[in-house]
């Protein structure tokens, strides 16, 4: 009886950690090999991101932000250390399994949107669901909902070139959302946008965060970081600071939204 109870408790505990930490990295390393030269881009990173958190990753150019995000997004494999995504060790998976993980658990938002020009906004948003093997009607429904949630319900049949930069990035966000991923990863999502459209996109992320999404944003913009509840600073491939921005520096969305 006691053994069984302990097993149940342990199982519940595992479930709890799974639920709690969407992302956990331990001593994560990534070394690029350039000919005979080894470039250590990440030199032992540790952190965990619980479900529902919104995190900014900052740091000077070349500090390893994109490298880290690629690893978190399962586009790349670590040279050392461990990466648990929703409790699963991603390092043990094959390429095709990683593709499935990216499809099911990750939503990517790119600096340059990366929309396919020959497809309409709706079709771009549907794309991840195509690779998930959903039926056409199912896909369409989810994609329409995602587009509506980024405020582009009336632009479904526009092609990317018929949309403004801010609108294109909102389509990009909708595409990341459509598959209901465990985590949304964005590498400088506002980097190509003017400040107004950048604000719009940022507000979108904040809305998603408030609705419960886990979000990791790489940014150079101090202002962006002010909206997130946690900022991880990288320098030369290691974490130099990790924590909330002091609250007096933070400005709530509501203030901004009102102004």
């Amino acid at each position: 009886m006691a053994v069984a109870a302990a097993a149940v408790a342990a199982a519940a505990d595992r479930v709890a950690t799974k639920m709690a930490d969407v992302i956990r990295v331990e001593q994560l390393q990534r070394v690029y090999h350039l000919g005979a030269v080894d470039v250590p881009a990440l030199r032992g990173i540790d952190f965990a991101i619980p479900q529902g958190q919104m995190v900014a990753i900052m740091g000077p150019s070349g500090s390893g932000k994109s490298t880290l995000l690629n690893l978190l997004g399962c586009l790349d494999r670590p040279s050392g250390g461990k990466y648990l995504l929703a409790g699963e060790d991603v390092g043990l998976k094959t390429d095709d399994e990683l593709a499935e993980v990216r499809n099911a658990r990750i939503g990517f938002v790119f600096q340059n949107y990366n929309l396919l020009p020959q497809l309409t906004a709706l079709e771009n948003v549907e794309l991840p669901l195509v690779y998930r093997g959903l039926s056409a009607s199912n896909r369409r429904r989810k994609a329409e909902a995602a587009l509506a949630s980024v405020g582009l319900g009336d632009r479904k049949h526009h092609r990317p070139l018929e949309l403004s930069g801010g609108q294109q990035q909102r389509v990009g966000v909708a595409r990341a959302l459509a598959g209901e991923p465990d985590v949304i990863l964005a590498d400088e999502p506002t980097g190509n946008l003017d400040s107004t459209s950048g604000q719009e996109v940022l507000r979108l992320f904040l809305d998603l965060h408030r609705a419960g999404s886990t979000i990791v944003i790489v940014t150079h913009d101090d202002e962006v970081a002010l909206y997130t509840e946690r900022t991880i600073h990288l320098r030369d491939g290691i974490v130099v600071s990790d924590g909330p921005i002091p609250s007096e520096q933070r400005r709530g969305l509501d203030e901004r939204g009102a102004s």
């Binding site: 586009l75 499935e100 990216r102 990517f108 991840p128 690779y131």
Partner: protein
């Protein structure tokens, strides 16, 4: 997934219509040429075959070779029939060139002195009047049965029956007119004046005949008859090569060997252009993969597996070549029908050739698409996304 790949491939092709068309052009020309040439070749074969068959069934032609010392005379036809039992009937042919006169018109043609069985042996039919009868031969009657070409040249718009023509000065009464039988390999079967062989001896001033035409009792004994005829001819003239003995079967098989070799050769040449078309597709697909590196990177980043990318590009190249093949098949069959129509052949389009060409063009698309598709599927998503 295949349905999605088809859809995606279609979208990409529509996005670059002009390029897609230019890429297809090689396949269009290749498939079109293959189908047109094979169809035309086959139509030519069947047209030649039917013409040869129209010459008469189980026909055997015996031509003495003068240089071997072999000379035949009209009565040798009877001799041959007696010594070769496989022959059911035969007739001598004494041919020569004549200038025929009627009224103010002159026409140079061939006179053919023969006997009554030649009508059936040569597969001719009468349009009007009568053919030669045995008494014409016996009494050296000056009568003639003329072909349609002669009718047109000497009797335009007139009934020749009962009229008298002069052939090299010998008057001949037209007693019969032949139906048109068409030409076979350049020889016009209608350009002829048939007379009793005895009368022809006078007209062309010789008693040597140019050939004996014989009919075998059945097509199964025809080869035996040929061998027998060769044997008796060689024996009679004490020469291993006294006569050319050709059965219709031999002519047919020789002809069909020639025409099918020609058809194959033409088809092969056209096939090479199909190959070149395939290389064109490979070239464009490689360019496409390079140009769309970012697209491939993105698709992989959002969860496309290697097999999905492979399938997408393979389907794209296959669609390209299949559509090209279909257009080519259409143009090729169209061209073949127009040409066969113009030449008066039977409908020339070759069904199996069309299907084969379509299957082959699909295969070309797959074979030449596989390498670019593999390259696409192997791209590293991070590298691919960084480009452009």
């Amino acid at each position: 997934m295949l349905r999605e790949s088809l859809r995606m491939a279609w979208r990409s092709l529509v996005a670059g219509k002009l390029r897609a068309f230019l890429t297809m052009l090689g396949i269009i020309i290749g498939v079109g040429a293959v189908i047109a040439l094979i169809s035309i070749g086959q139509a030519a074969t069947s047209s030649v075959t039917s013409q040869v068959q129209a010459l008469g069934s189980n026909l055997i032609t015996v031509t003495p070779i003068r240089s071997s010392g072999a000379v035949l005379y009209p009565q040798d036809a009877q001799w041959l029939k007696q010594v070769v039992p496989q022959i059911s009937q035969d007739a001598p042919l004494l041919t020569g060139s004549v200038t025929a006169l009627y009224g103010s018109k002159t026409y140079t043609t061939t006179v053919m002195g023969t006997t009554p069985p030649s009508l059936k042996i040569q597969g001719r039919t009468l349009a009007e009047g009568r053919y030669l009868v045995p008494s014409d031969i016996t009494f050296r009657r000056r009568v003639a049965v003329i072909g349609q070409t002669v009718v047109q040249n000497l009797f335009p718009g007139q009934n020749p029956l009962g009229q008298t023509i002069e052939a090299n000065g010998t008057p001949l009464v037209v007693v019969g007119v032949l139906k048109a039988s068409g030409g076979a390999f350049g020889a016009n079967q209608d350009d002829v004046i048939l007379t009793p062989v005895t009368t022809a001896e006078e007209i062309v001033n010789t008693t040597q005949i140019s050939a004996i035409i014989a009919e075998a009792r059945s097509s199964s004994v025809a080869p035996l008859a040929v061998a027998q005829i060769e044997a008796v001819m060689n024996h009679r003239f004490q020469n291993q090569n006294a006569a050319n003995v050709l059965s219709q079967d031999q002519i047919l098989s020789t002809l069909s060997t020639i025409t099918s070799t020609l058809t194959l050769m033409l088809g092969g040449i056209a096939g090479i252009s199909l190959l070149v078309g395939g290389i064109g597709i490979m070239n464009i697909m490689l360019v496409t993969v390079t140009e769309r590196t970012r697209e491939i990177g993105l698709r992989k980043a959002i969860g496309a597996k290697r097999s999905a990318i492979l399938l997408q590009f393979l389907v794209e190249s296959s669609i390209l070549s299949l559509i090209g093949g279909a257009i080519g098949a259409l143009l090729g069959s169209g061209g073949a029908s127009i040409l066969s129509h113009a030449l008066g052949w039977q409908s020339g389009v070759n069904g199996p050739a069309v299907i084969l060409a379509l299957v082959f063009s699909l295969a070309v698309g797959m074979v030449f698409g596989i390498w670019p598709a593999m390259r696409a599927s192997r791209l590293d998503p991070i590298e691919a996304l960084r480009q452009g």
